[in-house]
Amino acid sequence: MRRLCQIAATLWRADPWAMARGAAAALAVLMMGAALLGLSGWFVTAAAAAGLAGIGVAFDVFRPSAGVRFLALGRAGARYAERLLTHDATLRALAALRLTLLRQMEGLPVDTLRRMRSAGALTRVTADVDALDGLVLRLVLPALAALVTLLGAGLMLWWLVGLGLALAVASGVLVFGVLVLGVTLWLSTAPARRAEQARQALRHASMGLFRGHRDVIQQGRLPLARAQIDTADAEARTQEDHVARVDEGAGLALSLLIALAGTAALWLGGQAVAAGTLDPARAAIGLFVALALAEALMPLRRGVTELGRMLDAASRIDPTVAEETLEPRSVTPRPGAILALRDVTVTAPDRIQPLFEPLTLTLAPGDWVALTGASGSGKSSLLDVIAGLRGAAGGEILLSGLPLADWPEAQLRQHVTLLPQRALLVGGTIRENLALARDDLDDTMAWEVLRTVCLDHVIEQAGGLGAVLGEGGTGLSGGETRRLALARALLRRPALLLLDEPTEGLDDATARQVLTNIRAALPRAAVLMASHRAAERGTASRVVDMKYLGFGISHDPDQTVPPPDGLGKAQS
């Protein structure tokens, strides 16, 4: 609950002015609705009284009828403004929440982020944000508007009709309304939360079944997996039914409350009329206002029954952002070797032994080294380690003469750029993608780097730097995507450039051309390149072969594998 309040506060603070506008409009709708019914009721009854008394001519019809028309039109207008402004405020608030989430994720380790790329984890995040859109729209704003309306209506009734009736109608509706909604909340939160969890289980079970569909059939687990889905579904439906019953019960209770308030207004008004302390027209106001209060109360039900779902989502979202710790310290790079590795070893998560034999390597400015080795031998992991994304298992890494760990993040990123194997582009224009690399990007710089990666003609044909790519950078071929990511990395003009299979998906001629251009564009940069292509190795000044230790080392000499050729001979 505290978390939800924090989120509500975050949403509100995102744009307090937009929220206030929405709240004011929501309040205007309810107030004008109550006033319209009250005034109409008073007007008709007062007119009838005047008519009966034969003083119809003296009755001022124009002000009340103008009031009725004003309130009627004003309410329609206010309704329009309310819908528009509350949606606007919600969109702004959710945008701010999403930005907060994005900012938080910036702090996560790169390994975690890479794993999160699987669709499941990311859709979970967006589903949670979506679940929270009702928090402002259906709970906070309507509740505030209802509360103020009830108080306002109470004051108006006190002034126009009398304290007793005001207390009976406004406070009665307020107290019992809060009571009903409180009980609704109390009864629905647990099942709503369980329903959401069951739904999550259903999602998980279907993903599990259909992702490994052939396996499941193969192993004869289909009826079992199906039963799992059916169980989760049945549980979700049971809980949803539970929530619906509570919701319906709340609706029933609130309707009865309004009927009771109306009856009380009629009874108390009648008493006052009979006692001669109140004229019938004013007495009628009580009833009409009581009926209008239904509009303030009823919509709150939905927000309250959704609260369980919101709480569940809120428990996974932390709206607080840690204050960025400014790193005042900086290091002074030393001349000489840009990168020096001494006996460096790297392990993969969950593994005991290093991926490759200890590696020693030195790169001076202008050096171009290709790392080779079997797939999975740890080339990419080593580049990750040098880029400071994870730690080494052993050995020493010096960057421009200073231990890697001493480099502050910002300075490290200026000094070293890694083009990972699966570099992703973002949705947006070509220019936006390139601009991720530097603040001062201009068109000349952009075209120059596109020429370096032999992409200028492609981009020209696609419509220039303003050409729009889909989410994830769709719209370019695999090789083009690769080169645009490469261009982005080159824009950084780092002292040490780490490239993980930079020309994957390019034909040999283009690959050679691109590498030659890079060399010409960054003559002083030291380049370390994980590679498995002859075209890439050809441009390198040195080739380092990594000895994969990997898995599957047989400890029992009897288990050693005969070479495949031997097998073939044995068969023929």
Partner: protein, 539 residues
């Protein structure tokens, strides 16, 4: 089909009942209005408050609330029943047809989208029933008191079809706008989170955040532009309701003052009649407003129905058998495929018995995977015969055949479970050590910090392609499979790793298993007993 008929016919009956109850509840309002009119009329006549009228007001109000609640209950139960039936139908269809739809799509459909069928019943259909009855009855009641007041409503009446068209258009635009908003902003967020590792490497967190803000703000502006128009159309409805209310209040007021002397049936309007008419006006428009609010539910349900119908229309053949744990055939395995055609692809003739192996060759696209699917009973033959263990492979024998068979796909799906659970999915408790050694996979487990307790898959330790294939083989050995189908088991592996996979397959064959591998790796082809090129292809 019969389920579909039932699930359609039943709601029609019960939904009619739910609709009728709700209409009956709505019609309690004129009773309450009459009671209020009588009370206020009494006040004006100096008669005091009639307790009977108060009781009627409260009683009718309670009845109204009760009927509405009952109607809601029936409609909700029906909505649930329809959703459940549709979900079951869809699962029946999809679970027996692997590879038809992505797992993310299935999960979204089953867990979220199908549920959208319910609000159409609980909200839209009920509102539709009310629109057909309630305004007409209230109009008649108003007309019985004052034809002029009824005329005001009647002016709005013929406009109702216009309203409906407007509402329909507005809702369409509104839902389109919502789609843009929700879908697009979520996509942008996912896009940016996915790109975070790259953004970090480019030192561009600030720039990326600014870009995200700009995009989301642009989307908000676009959405609001659409909503401004969409909400305007439903405001027209509000406006008519408000104007109707204002005009009738003024008309009634002037009549009661004696300033207006037309519009009634002879005698001038009494105070009670005036109050009665006034109270009916908002309820005349209410069902229309509810229908407008529910229009979106119908559009959403229609979209889901289209999606589901497309899946049902595009029916491929189901797998043979039920995908259940079958009784495993006794004795040594055997397999004879003769004159087979599946998915329009001619399959090679194959005769294999225990301890024999075969490489199926051919360029990609020649149907090698189709052949493996046929052999596993996942795809029925269009022509030809397939006999396994001496009997035709059909619905009765397929589950038993699969119980002795293991399939090693090119891309092994590693679920999010522990390695131990992965190797022994049926929890038989067999010690996997021997099987791991046989599959050349013992070292993989030895190198993991938590051994068999290590979690694999998306959230756990990554294994390389070759390692995953050896683990899949180990799993086949744990299950005691003696028929092994492998799809490109050595593709994309370096020579050493490939040799290990080949050695594991050879070892299985030596122990009496049938081994069939789809491949174009010369080292593997030469390691197996023979090669069968796909008839359409070149080996």
């Amino acid at each position: 089909m019969t389920t579909a008929d039932r699930s359609d016919a039943a709601p029609r009956g019960r939904m009619a009942r739910a609709g009728a109850l709700r209409v009956l509840g709505d019609l309690m309002w004129p009773v309450q209005a009459a009671a209020v009119a009588a009370v206020i009329g009494g006040w004006l006549a100096g008669q005091g408050t009639g307790l009977g009228w108060l009781a009627l007001f409260l009683g009718a109000g309670a009845l109204r609330a009760g009927l509405s609640q009952l109607s809601g209950r029936i409609a909700f139960a029906e909505g649930q029943a329809v959703v459940e039936a549709e979900r079951r139908r869809l699962l029946d269809l999809l679970t027996l047809r692997p590879g038809r739809i992505s797992s993310a799509e299935v999960a979204a459909l089953l867990a979220d989208k199908i549920s959208l069928l319910a609000p159409e019943l609980t909200r839209y259909r009920i509102a539709m029933t009310r629109v057909r009855v309630v305004p007409l009855v209230l109009l008649a009641l108003v007309a019985s008191q004052s034809w002029a007041a009824a005329l005001v409503l009647l002016v709005a009446g013929p406009l109702i079809p216009v309203f409906m068209a407007l509402i329909g258009m507005a809702a369409k635009e509104a839902s389109a706008a919502q789609m843009i908003e929700v879908g697009a902003v979520n996509q942008v967020l996912i896009d940016r989170i996915a790109a975070l590792p790259d953004v970090r490497l480019l030192g561009g967190f600030d720039r990326a955040r600014a870009g995200f803000e700009g995009r989301v703000e642009a989307l908000r502006a676009r959405t609001m532009a659409v909503l401004r128009i969409a909400f305007l159309s439903s405001t027209v409805l509000e406006l008519f309701a408000a104007l109707g209310m204002a005009m009738i209040a003024v008309y009634v007021g002037f009549s009661l003052l004696g300033e207006i002397r037309f519009g009634t049936w002879g005698a001038p309007l009494t105070a009670g009649q005036g109050v009665f008419v006034l109270l009916l006006v908002p309820e005349f428009f209410q069902p229309l407003r509810d229908l407008a609010a529910a229009w979106h539910d119908r559009a959403a349900a229609a979209a889901v129905r289209d999606e589901v119908a497309a899946l049902h229309a595009d029916q491929g053949a189901p797998i043979l058998g039920r995908g259940a744990r079958g009784r495993r055939g006794a004795g040594a395995p055997s397999l004879v495929l003769c004159g087979g055609v599946a998915r329009g692809i001619a399959l090679p003739g194959i005769t294999l018995s225990a301890g024999q192996s075969l490489a199926v060759t051919g360029p990609s696209g020649a149907g090698k995977s189709t052949l493996l699917d046929v052999l596993a009973g996942l795809l029925p033959l269009e022509r030809g015969t397939l006999a396994v263990d001496g009997a035709a492979l059909d619905h009765t024998t397929a589950d038993g055949w699969r119980a002795r068979l293991a399939f090693v796909p090119q891309v092994v799906h590693v679920p999010d479970v522990t390695l131990g659970a992965y190797l022994d999915p049926l929890a038989t408790g067999v010690d996997p050590a021997e099987a791991l050694a046989k599959a050349e996979a013992g070292g993989i487990v030895a190198a993991l910090r938590d051994g068999l307790g290590t979690r694999l898959g998306e959230t756990g330790a990554g294994v390389s392609g070759g390692e995953a294939r050896r683990l899949a083989l180990a799993r086949a050995f744990v299950a005691g499979a003696d028929v092994i189908l492998a799809d490109e088991p050595t593709a994309d592996l370096d020579t050493d790793t490939g040799a290990k996979v080949i050695a594991a397959l050879r070892r299985a064959q030596k122990d009496g298993a049938i081994v069939i591998a789809a491949t174009h790796d010369p080292a593997l082809i030469v390691a197996l007993d023979g090669a069968a090129p796909m008839p359409g292809g070149v080996s």
